[in-house]
Subunit: 200 residues, 2 copies
């Protein structure tokens, strides 16, 4: 039986490793790639290698960054009395688009999920507690995990750990509909959620 030439077969296989892309779509993308400008394909290949090689987690907050610590942790103008805790780096971008939050962040890189078998030790909770122990500047931890059951569970877990240290713990409240993902919310919804945050 005839096979696709090896370079094409390999490209199709690479595309199928991306989430939500099956054999048919991968084949279409591979043929599309053959018709793309040489420069665009070269830049695509370079950007794949560079993203994997040059990006790391910030050793302080866990955000994706080229330099360590990340630009937000290094920024002396940010309000160091607040840490806003998110599930993933993408959520920071959504919060920053709102232009109304000027504190620091902490990226859990996941949530506690009994169904997925993810426990507190599998996400960046220890590093958050260490930050709080090291500094007496932090007055408030704003928990901005998603409005899902895992997000709520994680928020509750964090509140129980942090409140005994005398730090105010708040949770995004208004505007986020149940089950909604933070990085899909519009600026207004996020702004209301920050304004209406409630103490835990």
């Amino acid at each position: 039986m005839m096979q696709y030439p090896e370079p094409l077969a390999k490209l199709i296989e690479s595309y199928t490793k991306l989430p939500g892309i099956g054999q048919k779509t991968a084949t279409r993308l591979a043929f599309y790639t053959l018709g793309m400008e040489e420069d665009d394909v070269t830049n695509f290949a370079k950007s794949l290698l560079s993203a994997k090689r040059d990006l790391h987690s910030c050793s302080i907050c866990g955000n994706i960054t080229e330099d360590d610590p990340c630009p937000i942790c290094r920024d002396k103008t940010r309000d160091r009395s607040k840490i806003l805790v998110v599930e993933q780096s993408q959520d920071i971008m959504a919060m920053e688009r709102m232009h109304e939050y000027h504190g620091l962040y902490h990226v859990l890189q996941g949530v506690i999920s009994p169904v997925a078998g993810t426990g507190p030790e599998d996400i960046n909770i220890t590093s958050l507690l260490k930050r709080l122990q090291k500094s007496d500047e932090v007055k408030e931890v704003i928990i901005a995990t998603n409005a899902s059951s895992d997000g709520e569970l994680t928020a509750g877990y964090l509140a129980k750990l942090i409140k005994p240290a005398g730090i105010k713990v708040t949770r995004l409240a208004h505007g986020l509909s149940v089950g909604a993902d933070i990085d899909y919310a519009d600026e207004m919804t996020l702004f209301k959620a920050v304004q209406g945050r409630t103490e835990m």
Copy 2:
């Protein structure tokens, strides 16, 4: 305003150049890429470069190939009395999966489309006519353009050019529903279409 680190922003931009992938999906794919195995990302980058560098159109039939002429054109066991004309290389793979056609192919790399402004001179028709002039082995040209209006138009155009040379021109007939794409058809449908082909 905070921006994504440059390597990440560039990767997102590269993903948006693929068809059907917008900003949101590109961002998800880029973050997914960061979590992929190092080897998978390296292979992805290599396969992009290799596909673009090592693949070419066969100088005889127009099929995508690493070597020129392509393996099918070089294969002495294939029936050289038949040429099956398809719109794109992907359609050859669909025909080969059927295991019932053993002749040669010709890839138009497009169709005549008044709406898209694609004329007969924009697709590989001249190279097909040259093949027919050079060889007196070809007894039948089977036109397997898609069952769309552009596909039908192209089939009619080719039939008018080729029939005066005394070569039988047939068209895939049965089983392909109107508007269906050949590379999505199952083996049985394609087999019926080849069996029931009608003279033009």
